[in-house]
């Protein structure tokens, strides 16, 4: 936390009034250009123009999409995770998601947005929008910049919240907050910039990642793997029963995540466009087929189709389609969802139990692996022959190289930084609660509350 504030304080000191004025001037020029050229959206007519290059239809949809994606964290992911843990820890998981939402909001405002999405170099943005200074609420490219801030904020919120599933039921709350905040600064922000920011290294290379297969799922998945191993397994893992305490809650959470994902993928085109609609379409297809695949595998292997398998399959399909939803068609979504259902099942059920690591809520197995699957497969299914959006000059081979570079590069970077950060936090605050506290339950030991009182 100190690092983030130091960075911003330094930024504040070195920026002069001249810098602020030039940033505002640039925004005004851009706004004028947009107004003159118009934008290629459905409602490009003057009546729909919100003035200064703002398209009202786009803005309306992205405002809604922002709410949908926030809804994915609170309460979608919160309930999904909450139901999966034991009742003595449900509040702690809800608190992780809730508090991370609040902390990330402020972080994004103070320096996150600026460092991620403004001009800087290939790996990190600049300090032009520290505390959103110089932001003109009326200016933007299609949508107001303030809305870009908001929509992207929901992504920086959900990414550290996802990691919670790997270390739940045993990590100190202080460590959770510290890790989430510093990780957001050191991992999420640079990766976000590289993939989506102006001049971003991977963006310039032509990487395909519409809504965060790399930025959200791979990063969270790798961090999850690192932490679940570093923090260590829950006491009683593999010997004591640790069944979900409230599967109905999980199912509710899954529904909220699925519906919210229409904002996640459907909004990542930043407009009310046919592309956005297609993103929703392929999202639905991938989720549905992946759920069917996972359920079928369990039905065959275990003799019974489980609810948990069904909802987990859906999430696997959703994670995989995330990077691909801007470039693939329905058939591509069918393939991606199917592969994700199978591969994520394999990682979460077979490999995890084989190697015995306690990725409690399968963050790596579903989000990490799912994100990987989609990030790689989009190179193939973006091609015209598979109903993808690319034109005939598109080269699958070239794109495959770019996607692999991005996926493995980001995974490697995330891995290294997550390990280092985990070690630092372990040596300072400590990562794990005392065994007696873990036995009692984090709700009581970390938060002084019981979830269920008669």
């Amino acid at each position: 936390m100190g690092l983030a504030f130091a960075l911003c304080a330094w930024g504040g000191l070195t920026l002069s009034a001249q810098d602020a004025a030039s940033a505002a001037e640039e925004a005004a020029v851009a706004a004028q250009e947009m107004a003159e050229n118009g934008d290629d959206t459905l409602a490009g007519e003057p009546e729909a123009d919100g003035g200064g290059g703002i398209d009202k239809a786009d803005t309306a949809w992205i405002m809604a999409a922002t709410a949908l994606v926030l809804f994915m964290t609170i309460p979608g992911l919160s309930l999904f995770y909450g139901g999966l843990v034991r009742s003595k820890n449900v509040l702690s998981v809800l608190m992780h998601c809730f508090f991370i939402t609040c902390v990330m909001t402020i972080f994004w405002l103070v320096c996150g947005y600026s460092l991620a999405l403004t001009e800087g170099n290939a790996f990190i943005g600049g300090l032009d929008r520290i505390f959103l200074k110089g932001l003109d609420p009326e200016a933007g490219d299609g949508i107001p910049e303030s809305l870009l801030f908001m929509f992207q904020m929901t992504f920086v919120i959900i990414t550290p919240a996802l990691i919670v599933g790997a270390f739940c039921e045993r990590m100190k709350f202080a460590a959770v907050v510290a890790f989430s905040l510093v990780w957001a600064l050191l991992v999420y922000v640079p990766v976000c910039h590289m993939v989506w920011g102006p001049g971003g290294w991977l963006l310039e290379k032509g990487v395909i990642d519409l809504a965060g297969g790399i930025v959200v799922h791979i990063t969270a998945g790798i961090a999850a793997l690192v932490l679940c191993i570093k923090v260590g397994p829950r006491k009683g893992h593999l010997t004591e029963k640790m069944a979900p305490h409230n599967l109905p809650m999980c199912v509710m959470g899954t529904g909220m995540l699925w519906v919210g994902w229409f904002g996640f993928n459907g909004g990542s085109d930043l407009g009310a466009s046919p592309d956005g609609v297609m993103a929703m379409l392929v999202t639905q297809v991938s989720a549905a087929i992946a759920a069917i695949v996972w359920t079928t595998i369990e039905w065959v292997k275990n003799g019974k189709p489980s609810v948990l398998g069904g909802v987990t399959g859906a999430i696997a399909g959703l994670a995989a389609i995330t990077p691909a939803s801007g470039e693939v068609g329905p058939v591509g979504a069918l393939c991606i969802g199917t592969v994700s259902g199978i591969v994520c099942w394999y990682f979460s059920v077979v490999l995890k139990n084989k190697f015995r690591y306690d990725d409690s809520l399968d963050v790596f197995g579903v989000h990490g692996v799912g994100g990987f699957v989609g990030t790689i497969l989009v190179a193939v299914f973006a091609a015209e022959q598979f109903g993808g959006m690319k034109d005939p000059s598109y080269s699958v081979g070239t794109q495959l190289g770019i996607q692999m570079l991005a996926a493995f590069g980001v995974a490697g970077y995330t891995f290294l930084v997550s390990v280092a950060l985990a070690i630092v936090i372990e040596k300072t605050i400590g990562l794990r609660v005392e065994e007696s506290d873990e036995r009692e339950g984090l709700d009581v030991s970390e938060h002084g509350e019981q979830a269920y009182n008669n």
């Binding site: 069944a243 979900p244 275990n302 489980s306 398998g309 987990t312 979460s348 059920v349």
Partner: protein, 112 residues
Amino acid sequence: MKKLEAIIKPFKLEEVKEALGEIGIEGMTVSEVKGFGRQKGHTEIYRGSEYTVDFLPKLKLETVVADNQVEQAVETIAKAAKTGKIGDGKVFVLDVEEALRIRTDEQGDEAI
């Protein structure tokens, strides 16, 4: 006075309660318990984590009856709770030293 402790299958409660009512036994305490005898449990699988659940949900029914009603009460419970399938449960008979009705301070058989 004797205390009857009956472990029965949960869905049999209404039947046992009514049958006891018919022979004049109106008071009882019921708790939700888990247990097993010879009846086997089941297996649950959550994302590949397999758990064998040995304990089965049962109900424990407790009632204190006068000495002269014990045999009839035990028979009544057993008949109402029987399904003929494994896991029907058991009835135990214990000695009770004293009993007191709190509202009226009645003791002995008057308190039952």
